[in-house]
Symmetry: C2
Subunit: 394 residues, 2 copies
Amino acid sequence: MRLNEHFKNLGESYLFVTIAKKVAAYQKEHPEAKIIRLGIGDVTRPLAPAVIDALHKAVEDQARQETFHGYSPDSDGYPFLREAIAGYYKNFGVELDPSEIFVGDGAKSDLGNMLDLFDRDNTVLIPDPVYPVYVDTNVMDGRPIVYLDATEENGFLPLPDPGRRADLIYLCSPNNPTGAAYNKEQLQAWVDYALEQKAVLLYDAAYEAFITEPGLPHSIFEIPGAKQCAMEFCSLSKTAGFTGMRCGYTVLPRELRFGGVSLGKLWQRRQGCKFNGVSYLTQRGAQAVFTPEGQRQIREAIACYQENARVMMEALDRLGIPYTGGVNSPYLWLKCPEGLGSWDYFDFLLERAQIVGTPGEGFGRNGEGWFRLTAFGDPAQTREAMARLERLGQ
Amino acid sequence: MRLNEHFKNLGESYLFVTIAKKVAAYQKEHPEAKIIRLGIGDVTRPLAPAVIDALHKAVEDQARQETFHGYSPDSDGYPFLREAIAGYYKNFGVELDPSEIFVGDGAKSDLGNMLDLFDRDNTVLIPDPVYPVYVDTNVMDGRPIVYLDATEENGFLPLPDPGRRADLIYLCSPNNPTGAAYNKEQLQAWVDYALEQKAVLLYDAAYEAFITEPGLPHSIFEIPGAKQCAMEFCSLSKTAGFTGMRCGYTVLPRELRFGGVSLGKLWQRRQGCKFNGVSYLTQRGAQAVFTPEGQRQIREAIACYQENARVMMEALDRLGIPYTGGVNSPYLWLKCPEGLGSWDYFDFLLERAQIVGTPGEGFGRNGEGWFRLTAFGDPAQTREAMARLERLGQ
């Protein structure tokens, strides 16, 4: 019996483990210290009341034989939810049939499992810095990876290099970790490149709800030609506080075909074989997110995080610390002070201001010298963290 | 861009689609017909009151900032649930550390995704007839499959052939579709064979809660040596009516190592990359299943299904129809009348008795000439179905 030897090439996932260890050690030495965590991108506000009501009602459905829901008729989601999501896309002027929307238990699962559809010899193009899952899931399959430099010079929004070969292309906009967001012209360049290369664009739109600048695309399908080359991964985690609920959706348009084969049909076959649908309760909760009441309520939570981001940006501006993100994203991507590596800056902020962030180096080579803070914290704590930073002059 | 070409080798999953079409066509022609569905293995009884209470409470947790649960600290399950499951295993005399138990969203997902750990050149041994997922998930990876005949002659409980090479071995006991269950001596032969072959046993115990005969093993880990060669897949779907809730657990003992590599560690790495844990609500509901109250309540539901099975077995005995299963399983595996193929018998029962079952041919070559009925139906409907069968003399 031979193991998948590609696992040997995976780096250990030290990042958040190391952070947790350092924080625990500091807290032990300084039991009185009030540490403020702006590191992990997890939400802190409770679920919207409309979602809570829908969940209680769904639990009651499961308590009675007449309304009990067993296996969902389709591993890709109940029609009520797929239709609600198709309705949401109309906000962006994107027309989708519910059958082009596949409900899953989160963007992370779908991003990873989607790779089952592709040969292991394809060349993968991944921006650096990046959400580490894109890299690790391809390393597990032994696919060759080419990195694309996202740097201060290109505003962390690299554009395609027409001379470079790629089969699978990852884009995340608004970006994790940098918070930078592509405009329509830039995404058009990517769509044109993917069509020319006959490549697939794996577009991660998990943070679209945080876009505030008018005119920026919320969906890759706002771009002409995208339905022929792109799939889009979305999540309710950050949008509606579903990090503990587990629900996302992936869009595979009918036009997305390679050699006559529909990727949507392949994905349906993959999921039908290795997945049995998202919990009925979760799907009912997700449906409530897309009602007018649910939308109003989740916008309130998002506005609260956006206010945190504003508070943080103002403090950074006053301090003269260069950063990206914040405007269209819950993430702020700070430049570390001259000469400090991202782990040095981590230690510095922990020790001198009791603030926990994420060292940019954890997101790839180009993340060195940068640092991620999230706007998902409690508002009072976020203000206190910025006050500490300003007292420090740093 | 090249697709995973192995998808071309997948048979279309016609089975339940074809059944649904035939039933719909019959109902359209006979709108007055009262069709009784004993085909798909889905439960019909609502969730246990203890589970319902736990779910409502968990929903309330998600409604308040102080008790809100976001990302679970570990994609492999909350300690409260892993500890509860370890406690359950003590019923079988099996000692497990909670860290050896991995909570997932169902046995189907875990069975499929587990294959990420293994090289694609391994030889897979799969009994026939069988749960089609074992076959399809390996076909998707292009792994060579050797089938093992489960027939009336061997009581649908094939034993290892020491001369046959295997790397990955699938066993399901009590079996889907045949309902046959291995005893300890038979499982010992499989464990000895796996150890001798240095193979991995993928043991599907999804139906263990339906075992009634004393002395039959509920877990492969009751067998000496199993911790060195086996992993066990379990599910709350049939045990606690969780088909729509999505929760299962997979046991990878610490001793399960190949070339010094712990399969549990590899699985943890796989899940950490491509999965973000089971919904907090579901895990709280699952925890309630393992309380004394929850156990008493789920045993009542199982007893109801077992009573259905008893009614069915008595009818088949009176009719002189040969079958296996029913005693230790919610499935009954009937021999079709002489000369009738399993699809012929399907049509016969639908047209003459308005009973829907599952043609054995859908489970593999050796399923031809056999037919599966499930005991998961409503008790009154199950009795009515058997009365129709007896009136038919068939």
